[in-house]
């Protein structure tokens, strides 16, 4: 069974990669399995300088999901290039560097910094982290800003650029088309949905940051719908994510139009989830009559107007 997938900058042995922020820089999970089994690794978001992130509690359980408000804690791009990238470079897997910023200049700076290393295969622009508000949120919800940051980063780097879309928008297709026009090489979708829980004993929001990003199986139907909508309107590839926890889930995403997928929250539940899915995927593809990943991409799309309401 052919699991290989070739996307701009990413020549992957399979379409499975851990999602940004859910896998650190790989160290911890490397004690559970050989990272070389992965199609790629998406690193935790990098910013220009070190960020300490938000106060705790930073996570909360929800029905079939979780909220997080880590606040982009990271040691800054220089340290990441020095201390983290070399570790991942020892594995036979693609490396995707995720970039976050509070200003276009910060995105540009971090993108340029990653030009200094040979071991990063592509960039992922996190224009959608709901836990950073200094302006970051604007990039992900406004097509013009999204296009502007994409264009700027494209000029600053030789690497393919995947733009990570926020689901907290009225019209995700508009954002997707805007970043495609601005030169994005691919999309990655979706980031978390902004949510909140109340802590009854203290009568306060449970997460110290008040709101957090909702991830996990709860959001899977929203991710699939958005990928389905976007796929029909753009021609750049899509890395799908949002609640994936099984090889069947992967196939749902691929049928809806994803070319590859990332797995986030499920790593916390089962640190072996990525290799287990990679193992199971050939059986699932086979069961539903596919001989390769590429064959299945977008196969579930019905090409007619989405509405069949009867009056």
């Amino acid at each position: 069974m052919n699991l290989s997938v070739n996307l701009p900058g990413l020549s992957m042995k399979n379409p499975i990669m851990p999602a940004s922020g859910c896998f650190g820089f790989g160290h911890e999970y490397s004690s559970f399995f050989d990272l070389s089994t992965l199609g790629a690794v998406m690193m935790k978001s990098a910013t220009k300088y070190e960020r300490l992130g938000n106060p705790t509690p930073r996570v909360a359980e929800t029905s079939s999901g979780m909220l997080n408000a880590i606040g982009l804690q990271n040691p800054g791009v220089v340290k990441i290039i020095e201390s983290e990238v070399p570790f991942l470079a020892t594995y036979d897997t693609c490396v995707i560097a995720n970039i976050a910023g509070s200003s276009v200049e910060e995105y540009e700076y971090v993108a340029k910094s990653f030009n200094q290393t040979d071991h990063v295969d592509a960039l992922e622009l996190n224009i959608s982290c709901p836990n950073v508000k200094e302006g970051g949120i604007q990039f992900g919800t406004d097509p013009y800003m999204a296009a502007y940051v994409t264009e700027t980063v494209k000029k600053a780097t030789n690497l393919p650029v995947y733009v990570k879309l926020s689901p907290n928008v009225t019209d995700i297709v508009a954002i997707a088309k805007a970043v495609e026009s601005a030169g994005a090489d691919g999309l990655s979708m979706i980031n978390t949905l902004t949510g909140m829980r109340m802590h009854l004993p203290s009568q306060k929001p449970l997460i110290a940051n008040k709101t957090g990003g909702l991830s996990g199986p709860a959001i899977k139907p929203i991710a699939i719908r958005m990928i389905y909508e976007v796929k029909q309107q753009v021609s750049i590839p899509i890395i799908g994510m949002g609640g994936i926890a099984s090889a069947e889930d992967v196939l749902e995403f691929i049928l809806a139009g994803a070319n590859a997928v990332a797995i986030g929250t499920a790593n916390f539940n089962n640190p072996l989830i990525c290799p287990e899915i990679i193992n199971e995927l050939p059986n699932v593809l086979n069961k539903y009559g596919f001989n390769s990943i590429n064959e299945a991409v977008g196969k579930g799309i019905i090409h007619e107007p989405a509405d069949i309401s009867s009056s």
């Binding site: 911890e28 930073r58 359980e61 539940n269």
Partner: protein, 252 residues
């Protein structure tokens, strides 16, 4: 070394009101775990695992004991598990208590509520290391007292309840003056208790074990951080802790 393993429940006992003891069997965990380390337990239907300390272990039989209190959805569900069922666990996790300098020293253990379980495993290893143990155990009320006799077997034990229904009345810090002199302390319990202990014993070298809501449990997600007292950043409770030098971290 960390692994994802299945642990079969050997025995299930109610040790106090709403508080259960599970004896689990797994050779990997029993061989590798040190006092203060914890297990990250998968509970059917929940997204996040639940961290629970190791209360005791027996390398020869491969038995590992945990004691947990029913406080919410996860522990409620866990309490329905029955002997012969197996539970999916990541462990042993975290950095435990450092006991190497305790030979022939006097060690004070101060535990509150669900902070008491890891101190029992610690106490046993300390006794093996020829330390002298004094324990202060704080509970809400008489009905929630557990492991009193087990701790007494290790050394002098002072039990305190908030409402005075058993032992002394008050908080663990209220009996500190009674215990005599000691060389070091190890404490685990609710944050307000830890703060009070840290303040009262600010001139003694000691270690505290912390709790925080966790995601991954292994250091990858940065959910469970605590500010360091040098103001220079955070440590991860799941990986750098849960045990820290009392002076190392800032309790707020």
């Amino acid at each position: 070394m960390i692994n994802k393993v299945n642990m079969v429940i050997q025995k299930k006992t109610i040790v106090a009101k709403g508080t259960l003891e599970f004896v689990l069997k797994n050779d990997f965990i029993s061989h590798h775990a040190t006092p203060g380390q914890f297990l990250h337990i998968l509970i059917d239907g929940l997204t996040l695992r639940r961290p629970v300390s190791i209360t005791d272990l027996d390398k020869s039989s491969g038995e590992v004991t945990i004691v947990f209190k029913i406080v919410g959805e996860g522990t409620k569900k866990l309490a329905t598990y029955e002997p012969r069922q197996s539970i999916d666990v990541i462990g042993p996790l975290g950095n435990g208590f450092d006991i190497k300098d305790t030979h022939q020293k006097t060690v004070l253990l101060i535990g509150g509520g669900i902070g008491i379980p890891p101190l029992y495993h610690l106490g046993k290893r300390l006794v093996e290391n020829d330390a002298k143990i004094i324990s202060i155990l704080g509970y809400q009320t008489k009905e929630s007292v557990f492991y009193e006799r087990e701790f007494q077997a290790l050394g002098d034990t002072y039990v305190v309840t908030n409402d005075g229904t058993h032992g002394y009345q008050g908080l663990v810090t209220d009996v500190l003056s009674k215990v005599g002199s000691f060389d070091t302390f190890y404490t685990c319990g609710p944050t307000p208790m830890l703060k009070a202990v840290k303040e009262r014993l600010s001139n003694v070298d000691g270690s505290i074990s912390l709790e925080e809501r966790m995601g991954c449990g292994i250091g990858a997600c940065l959910a469970c951080v605590i500010p360091t007292s040098d103001g220079e950043g955070y440590r991860k409770i799941c990986q750098d802790g849960p045990v820290f030098h009392a002076k190392e971290v800032n309790l707020s």
